[in-house]
Amino acid sequence: MNVAISNSSDKPIYQQLFEQISAQILKGELESGYCLPPIRQAAQELRVSIITVKKAWEELERCGLINTVTGKGCFVAEFSPDEILQIRNETVLKQMVSDASYYKSFGLSIEEVVELLKKIY
């Protein structure tokens, strides 16, 4: 599992953790059954507070990406390809919502946004 945290980023640290780990799960880099490090240990190694890690893990669980087995730890959940697609779309959509309001604030139409996206994609 690879995680790089930036203290200068605008994003809260738990969100950085969540985004990076969820991306690795969705891309299949972390396979189902992979055991995440215990919360307190992860906090110590990453030099962040315990509650920050807890929040990230909870968010992962809420999205169905990991399962917590009491007394054993947190494991990457099993998914069918369809489920992966669905979770991926939901995750991307969240980001799009905030992006969309940014584009709207400039008065861009959907066609204009698509045109611009095509240029950089």
């Binding site: 809260p12 509650i51 920050t52």
Partner: protein, 284 residues
């Protein structure tokens, strides 16, 4: 289980008073205690340790009242204040030999580990130690008798950035297995952004807020707007500064209407402290 449970603490001095100070620290977590100089941090910490007579209120440590179980509880508490001002002509070694007799669970191995880690020479006299080394010596003492609760008053002030970082690393190591809890006061807020789970903020003898760190920061917004927009929000702002480009001010998130065109950002702990102190000033 609560490591520390402070309920309605009151203590009046001629020119200052602690008013209804209450907060709780869950076992196994780190709490940062912030506030300006003279806000009541040390008075609160002294009350926790039963070092002064409080007018009313209760302090429970690991479920027991400190006033009733002081001797027993002090075995479980490690505490450190910035300075050591007794027996300054003695060597570290001599002073430690005296202090360790008070603790049933004193562990020499742990103690020497910390001495090595802090690069302290036990043959040095207290008077010869720099401020930072005194802090470290104090911490070594506090950490060597298996304390379950650490109460530290400004442990990082006087330390250089490298030593501060080392210390924070030690704090995080200590809480890993969930047995030890730490309360430390500081005004170096960057220390807390890294490792604290909870923040308690005291202004002028009263607790403004005590909560999880992220919730704490999220409950405020730093606004940045044009002077013409100031009137819209002026009444809700905790305090604000005007400059030739407009204004910046702090507001409770719940009072802020996100659909307004004023630019809002999440403040740092330092910014929160600064705007609260400005509010105090404006009353004077």
């Amino acid at each position: 289980m609560l490591a520390l449970d402070i309920r309605n603490l009151n203590k009046a001095y001629p020119n200052f008073q602690l008013q209804n100070v209450s907060f709780q620290l869950e076992k196994g977590y780190i709490m940062g205690f912030i506030g300006a100089n003279g806000a009541g941090k040390t008075t609160t910490i002294k009350s926790i340790l039963n070092m002064l007579h409080i007018d009313s209120g209760e302090v429970l440590i690991l479920g027991k009242n400190i006033a009733e179980h002081e001797i027993e509880l002090k075995q479980e508490i490690g505490y450190a204040f910035g300075d050591i001002d007794f027996y300054t002509r003695s060597k570290i070694k001599t002073l430690t030999d005296v202090i360790k007799k008070f603790y049933k669970n004193w562990n020499d191995e742990t103690y020497y580990n910390y001495l090595r880690r802090f690069k302290l020479d036990e043959n040095k006299k207290i008077a010869e130690l720099s401020t930072g080394m005194k802090v470290k010596y104090n911490l070594a003492l506090a950490l060597s008798h298996g304390a379950k609760l650490l109460v530290l008053d400004e442990p990082t002030s006087g330390l250089d950035p490298v030593a501060r970082d080392n210390l924070l690393e030690i704090f995080q190591e200590l809480v890993v297995d969930g047995e030890v809890s730490i309360l430390f006061s500081t005004h170096i807020t960057s220390d807390l952004e890294k490792c604290a789970d909870y923040i308690t903020f005291i202004v002028n003898g009263q607790i403004v807020k005590s909560s999880e760190k992220e919730e704490f920061i999220e409950s405020y917004r730093l606004l940045n707007g044009k002077e013409s927009q100031l009137e819209q929000v002026k009444d809700q702002l905790i305090s604000y500064k005007k400059n030739s480009f407009g204004f910046t001010g702090l507001i409770h998130s719940k009072d802020f209407d996100p659909s307004s065109e004023i630019n809002a950002a999440i403040p740092s702990l330092e910014e929160i402290m600064i705007y609260f102190s400005k509010k105090e000033d404006s009353y004077v």
